[in-house]
Each structure stands twice: as C-alpha cells, then as structure tokens.
C-alpha cells in the first residue's frame, strides 16, 4: 500500500508516488556485435566533425545491430538469460512490458511477439510502451504498479535500435546514439523497501525530439527538412535547456518526498544523454565522483531506454550483486518526458551484459 488514503481528496499532491512490496531481482542487457569506434563514423562525416562532437558528448564506441536484428531480438536474448539465471519458469511470469520506439511492426505489439517467443503463459498480459529516455523509470513504475495490483512476477524489457533512426549525415545524432536491449525482473516481496517515484511530461516540447514521418499524420508539406523526415530530428539546445530546467528540480523533489538529503544516495544513475550534460547536472545535484555518478556513455553511447539498465548491469553490477545500494535512477528526454525512482536496490541475483 502507498499511504493511508481514506478519500481521494486526502491524497497527496500528484507527481510523487511511494510503492511498497516491490523488488528488483536481476538485470541483463544485450548489446549487438562488436563495439564500433568513432573512426568508422569519421569515414562518412570526416575526422574534424567527429572530433568536435566527441569532445562534448564523450562517446568513444557504441554497438550497432545487424540489419535483420531488432530491439525485440536484443531483449529476447537478454530475457532468456535473465529467466535462466533467476530460475524463473516462463509460466511464472504474470506480465511482460516492452518499452521501445523501435518495435518490430506497426502492429501487433512487439510485447505479444516476445510473449510467444519466450513461451509465456496465456494468462500473462503483454503490452508495448512508446517512450525513450524516460522509459525505464516509467517501466519500473508500471511494473511496480502491476505488482501492487496483484501480479507476482513482471518482466520489463526496454531497449532501442537507434542506429535505424539516425540520419548518418547528422553529426549531432550519428555519433551519439547506440543500440542495446535489456531485461529486468520485478517480483512481489512484502519485505522490499519503499520505491519512491516521480513522473512528469511536457508535451509542448514534443518537437524537440521527433521522427516526423512514419506514423499516420501526413508530413507538413510546407516544412523544409534538412534531414530525411523518416529519421530522428533532435534540437540539441532545446533538449539541453529542458534538462537543466527540469532535472535538478526532479532530483530535489524526489529527495524531499523521501525526506532525505542528497548525501544519503549512494549513486545517481542518470540517463546517459551526453557526457557534458551529465557532468553539468552532476555538479548541480552534488554528485561528481564516478562512484556516485557512474558514466558509461563512452562505451555504449546514448541507448535511450537502455541506458539505466546498462548502468545497473555494468557499472553497478559488482556493488548490486554483493550488497544493496540506495540509488536514484533518473530518465529524461523524448516526449518531453521524465521520471525518477529512489529506492534501496539489491542484492540482485544477477546483473550482467551479454553479446547478442
């Protein structure tokens, strides 16, 4: 239960939620193929253009999926390993949530396809969620809410093949993004510590990150595109300003909900948007050392909803499998949309990154 709420009118202000009885058991991430170095992109964009961008965003390598390899494939590989490691039988899973903007088809939901491939039970619900950089926190919130409404075990799959969405001639995005899939196991546990969530959106900024073509709204014939309209359009300055405006406030509000000081947080896991932005926000929230602000964008790039599970399964793996840590996970981006969760996580039964 959250808090005692005798009547709707007595509910606390919306935006912050506390959920109990929910435990994260394990996280597996799957990345496709070998790391792709910047030199490969420099062949198209030129050495100087790539060097200028890299200095700011800090990406040295990323992974790109093969032409016939989708986000669902990456998440399927991760989920199979996770189920094995946790010794969860497929028929013990009550719900599958798939967070992605790169599904296999316009319909059906890729979650249903994954449900079939994983051999889950027919009384297991499965659905897609179309969110990006904030998606993992939203996924955890949904999983926790499903647990509170009666589910025992939930599989949260989150990932993206951004390499299919970027225009290779756009230096702002071609260097920044990478591909990855993740699988997280969430289970009912009456003894689990409270998870505190804060979620928000600002639809007036929807144009700041958009693929204009490919949905069902015709593309504005008067709009002049410098990039292929079926590829990602990102207004970097707009996204950066939004992040600086909302994220320090989100972190402060989430701490205030819990009534704790920032120093009690063992590590802040921030969506790996770009290195410059991470360092700047880190300074603003008082987390600068690598133990409290892990950064792996140098190795994986910005993988959208997979950046937070990659931090859990890679940088935090040792700490989370050997003990527990008070973490704040913060996602923000396309939508515009953001979310934070503050909780004590671990010990996890497994946290690892595998090849797909």
């Amino acid at each position: 239960m959250t808090t005692a709420t005798p009547a709707a009118g007595d509910r606390p202000r919306r935006g912050g939620y506390a959920l109990s009885g929910v435990a994260l058991r394990g996280v597996v991430c799957a990345v496709p193929g070998a790391p792709v170095p910047n030199a490969v992109i420099a062949e198209t964009l030129g050495d100087q253009a790539v060097a200028d961008v890299v200095k700011m965003i800090g990406v040295e390598t990323r992974h790109w999926s093969a032409p016939d390899q989708t986000t669902a494939d990456l998440c399927h590989t991760a989920a199979q390993r996770l189920l094995e490691r946790l010794d969860w039988t497929p028929d013990s899973v009550d719900a599958l949530i798939f967070v992605t903007q790169t599904p296999d088809h316009p319909l059906p939901a890729s979650a249903c396809i994954l449900h079939g491939r994983l051999g889950l039970a027919t009384d297991c619900q499965a659905f897609d969620v179309n969110l990006g950089c904030s998606g993992y926190v939203y996924g955890l919130w949904l999983a926790a809410s499903l647990i509170q409404s009666g589910c025992r075990r939930v599989l949260l799959l989150a990932g993206e093949t951004m390499s299919r969405l970027v225009d290779p001639s756009d230096r702002g995005t071609a260097v920044l993004f990478g591909d990855a899939g993740s699988a997280s196991a969430i289970e009912h546990d009456p003894d689990a510590p409270l998870m505190r969530f804060r979620l928000g959106s600002d639809g007036s900024g929807a144009n700041a990150l958009m693929v204009p073509q490919g949905g069902f709204r015709p593309v504005d014939p008067d709009r002049a595109f410098t990039l292929d309209p079926s590829r990602l359009h990102m207004d970097g300055g707009e996204v950066f300003t939004f992040t600086l405006r909302e994220i320090p406030k989100l972190v402060a509000d989430t701490l205030a909900d819990a009534g704790v000081a920032g120093e009690t947080v063992d590590a802040y896991l921030l969506h790996q948007a770009n290195r410059f932005m991470l360092r700047h926000i880190g300074k603003k929230i008082g987390a600068t050392e690598p133990e409290r602000l892990p950064v792996n964008i140098d190795r994986y790039g910005n993988t959208s909803s997979a950046t937070l599970p990659l931090l859990l399964a890679d940088d935090m793996a040792q700490r989370l499998t050997s003990g527990s840590e008070t973490l704040m996970l913060v996602g923000f981006g396309v939508g515009l949309s953001w979310g934070a969760v503050l909780a004590k996580f671990g010990p996890l039964a497994c946290a690892e990154v595998i090849s797909a």
């Binding site: 700011m56 702002g172 970097g236 300055g237 707009e238 300003t241 600086l244 410059f276 932005m277 603003k284």
Partner: protein, 74 residues
C-alpha cells in the same frame, strides 16, 4: 563578466585575453555545440537558463552579456 569571457575563451579554445566585448562569435565556430556550452556556462555563473534561439541570434560577445539577468536589470 570576466568569468563569462574566460569561459567563452575555453569554449572557443583561444586565449582568455583574446575575448572582448567585440569578439565576433561567427569567427569562432558559433554552432549548436558552442551554444549549448554557453547555456551551461551562464547557468554555472549566475544560475540563469538562456534561450538557445536568443543565443543563436548573438553576433558578438557583448550580445551574450546583454542577455544576462544583471544586464537586463541595469
């Protein structure tokens, strides 16, 4: 102001003494990366978030100074 000029010098990768009110931004690759860096710089110096579009319109370093809150108040 000196903090701002020192920060701009770092962004432009030139000597701090070479940044003055008359420094022409276009001569120092005044692109989206430089603008984002400047937003962060001004946020650090005075906790103000400048508008990227307004920064893109700036021609000289003095134009950036004019966007700062103290300058507006004066």
């Amino acid at each position: 102001m000196q903090n701002l000029y020192a920060g701009l010098a770092e962004i432009f990768e030139i000597d701090a003494s070479d940044v003055t009110a008359d420094t022409v931004l276009a001569e120092h690759n005044w692109d989206s990366l430089a603008i984002v860096s400047t937003i962060a710089l001004v946020d650090e110096i005075c906790g103000e978030l400048l508008d990227g579009a307004a920064l893109a319109q700036c021609v000289t370093a003095a134009d950036i100074v004019a966007l700062l809150p103290q300058a507006k108040a004066a």
